[in-house]
Symmetry: C2
């Protein structure tokens, strides 16, 4: 059983949270929902207003407490990367080489953490240029697995994203 | 009187459209609202649902028809940069050296158009790293004027942004 940190705030892409979360829990893994809001506060999805309860403010935890990190897309990553703490959390996670699962706009946090240099990655097409400019090789495919890093482009890619992420969690 | 193209779609930052639009019109300039939606379709702002009627699909016009370009922020630029035509429009506008006024997330379109190399620019703090990675010098100030390009960070910067933009329109 892995402890998975979920970095999330308002305007996340609903399915990019709900589907991996369901699959990870179904496989016996624990999720902790972190963000810039405080514990017990609600954040909501962009399309369906899916409510998610934040477990802890990211200020209250350390990357060392978790085995893996999930970053759903939508506009949640744009909001999170405007603050220092989520960016630093992602940076430390990537430096530790622990599994990181990022879909859609999730890669915006990897860019702000300067964690894509020399890596293979993908993300939503609107940020393709940002991913390339950050020093990554952008691959237009449903899932890109590069060491600890699993990235996908969009909700349609969820089956491949979840399968690759579960493989990392079960290693 | 200048003809100003406004590149806009849903989830724009309301005040970053309404305030420059009011000031430009008040000074006698004409605005044409362009995007990936068709003429007479409505787009709406992110915070206040401000309705804006699209005049023409960007496919129907050429940069040569306009004297200047306004790019409001919010999540509108992220949506527009996912398609080829708005990016190409911005690229041609910048190559022609005509005045371009970009605030907040507007710079995302400049990045996708590969139009920031060697330029001084600013934008909303969440995209500061993207602006730097695109080859620009990012300046954390209310307005940055670099040749034809006027950029600002956020709604608080609107007075300085509008003043600098009007100066360009009246040159």
């Amino acid at each position: 059983m892995a402890k998975v940190a979920v970095l999330i705030t308002d305007l996340f892409e609903d399915s990019e949270y709900t589907e991996p979360a369901k699959a990870f829990k179904g496989a016996g893994h624990d999720l902790m929902h972190l963000g810039t809001k405080n514990g017990s506060e609600l954040v909501k999805g962009k399309k369906e207003n899916t409510p998610v309860t934040i477990d802890k403010n990211i200020n209250e935890v350390e990357p060392g407490q978790f085995d893996a990190l999930l970053i759903p897309g939508g506009y949640s990553p744009d909001k999170l990367r405007a603050k220092q703490e989520p960016v630093q959390f992602v940076k430390e996670f990537m430096e530790a080489g622990k599994p990181v699962f990022s879909i859609c706009h999730g890669a915006q946090l990897l860019i702000s953490a300067d964690a894509l240099k020399g890596r293979k990655a993908t993300g939503w097409k609107s940020i393709a240029q940002d991913i390339k400019n950050a020093g990554a090789e952008y691959l237009d495919q449903e899932v890109v697995i590069d060491g600890n890093l699993v990235t996908s482009r969009q909700p349609d890619d969820l089956p491949a994203f979840i399968k690759a992420s579960l493989n990392k969690l079960n290693q």
